[in-house]
Subunit: 240 residues, 2 copies
Amino acid sequence: VLSKLCNNLGMAASLRARVRAEMIGEIKATARRHLAADGANLSLRAVARDLGMVSSALYRYFAGRDELLTALIVDAYNAMGDAVEAADARVEDRGDLRGRWFAACRAVRTWALAEPAEYALIFGSPVPGYAAPPDTTTAAIRTPSALVGILADGVASGRLRIAEFDLPAPVRADLVRVCEANYPGLPEEVLYGGMAAWIHLFGAVSFELFGQLNNVVEAREQFFEHQMGVMADLIGLPRP
Amino acid sequence: VLSKLCNNLGMAASLRARVRAEMIGEIKATARRHLAADGANLSLRAVARDLGMVSSALYRYFAGRDELLTALIVDAYNAMGDAVEAADARVEDRGDLRGRWFAACRAVRTWALAEPAEYALIFGSPVPGYAAPPDTTTAAIRTPSALVGILADGVASGRLRIAEFDLPAPVRADLVRVCEANYPGLPEEVLYGGMAAWIHLFGAVSFELFGQLNNVVEAREQFFEHQMGVMADLIGLPRP
DNA sequence: TGTACATCAGTGAACGCGCGTTCACTGATGTAC
DNA sequence: TGTACATCAGTGAACGCGCGTTCACTGATGTAC
C-alpha cells in the first residue's frame, strides 16, 4: 500500500515533470530558431506566438528574457562540448593524439557551421544589457578542457613533444595557477600551447562564419584543416 | 566680377557643406557613443534625442538606420586601418620587420581596447537584419593589407625567411588568385602566413575583449605580446 | 472508491514604453536678377 | 544694392508596429482523506 502510494506519487510527479521538461525543451528549440533568424534580439512574444501561446505563459517556465537567454547559452556551450567530447571519444586509437586533436577541432567547426546562431551567441559580441551569470562557466569550459585533456594524455603517455616557450613570468604565473586548479601536474607550456591553439581555432571558425573569408578563401575546409595542422605542429603533437 | 561670383558661390557652398559635414560628424559620434552602451541595437530616436533634435531630422543626413550603421562600420574599419598604418609608419628603421610587425599588432589591440563597441561592430556577430554593402570591403581590407605589406617588404628586401607550408592545391589556388589581384609577385606562402597571423591576432583580441580570458589570464598584455611573437616566428619574421 | 482541495499551465487585458519612417510645415540661409 | 525665389535644416504630429512584464482569472490535472 505504502509502496504503491509512493510509486503513484513518484510517477505522477515525474509525469508532470516530464511534460514540463518537454515544454521547456520546445520553448528553447523555438527560441533557438528565432536566434538564427534575428540574432541575439530574442523576443519572448515572438517565441510565444510561434508556440501558439500567449506571451505571459512563458513566465511559467522562465522568470524572464534573461533567464531564457542564459538557458540557451548554457545549452550552446554544452552542445559544443558534447560534440567535441564525442568526436574525441570516437577515435579508437587513444594513443593517436593528432587524430584525436583533429577530430576535436573538426567537431568545433562542424558544430559552428551547423548552428551559427548558437555559436555567435556564445562567441560573438556580448549581448547588450545581458550579463552572463557565473554558473555558465562550467559549461563554457568544456570544449577547451577537452582540447587540453588530449594534450594532458599526451604528456602522461610521453607522446607529446613538450614545446618550449620562454614565457614572461606573469604569464607563467597565471598559467601555473590555472594548471594547479584544473590540470594538476600539467606543465604550463602545454597549457599555453593549448590556449594558443584554442585561440587560433576560435579565430579561424569565427572568420569563416562571420564572413571575413569571403572572396578570399573558397576552399574553406582544407584551409581550416591546414591551419589546424600548423598549430598542431607548433604545440608538439606528433605527426603520424 | 566673374571670379568674385565664383568665389562667393564656392565659399558659400563650402560653408554649407562644412556645416553639414560637421553635423554628420556629430551624429556619428553620438551614434558611436550609443553603440558602446547598447551594442548594435542602434536607435535613431535615441541618437536624435541626445543631439536635441527630433528623430525625423536625421533623415536629412542619412536615408535610414542602415545607412548610418554602414557609415559607422566604414568609419570603424578606417579608424583601425589608420591606427595600424600609422603605427607601422612610426617605426623609423623600415628594415626592422619584426618591430614594424609588432607595432601593427599592438595597434590593433590598443584600438580594439579603446573602442570595443566599434571593434565588436566589425568583428563581432553580424548585426541581425543588416547586410553590409560591398563598398565596405575597401575599408575592411586596410588592416590585413598593412600586415601583408610588411611581409611583402620583407620579401623584397630579402629579410623575411619565407616559411614553407605544404598547402593543398585548392588553398594554394585561392591564395594565388588573391596574390595576383592584390600583391603581385608575393609568394602564396607569405600570404598564407600573413593570414594565419591575422586570424590569430583577431582571435587573441576577440578572446580578450569578449571575456573569454576572464579568470584565466590576467597578464593580458604580456600574454598578447608573446602570442604575437610565436606567430611572428612561425611566419619567418627575423628575430633581432 | 469518491469527494474536497491544492497545484499549476495557460488566458487575455492592460501598462508603459520604444521604435523607424512619412509627411506637410516653418524659417532661415543662401542665389540670381 | 535690393528684391523675388530656391534650397534645405529642422519641426511636430501621426502611423503602425513591437516589446517585457504584471495581474486577476479560468480550468484542468493531480493529491489526500
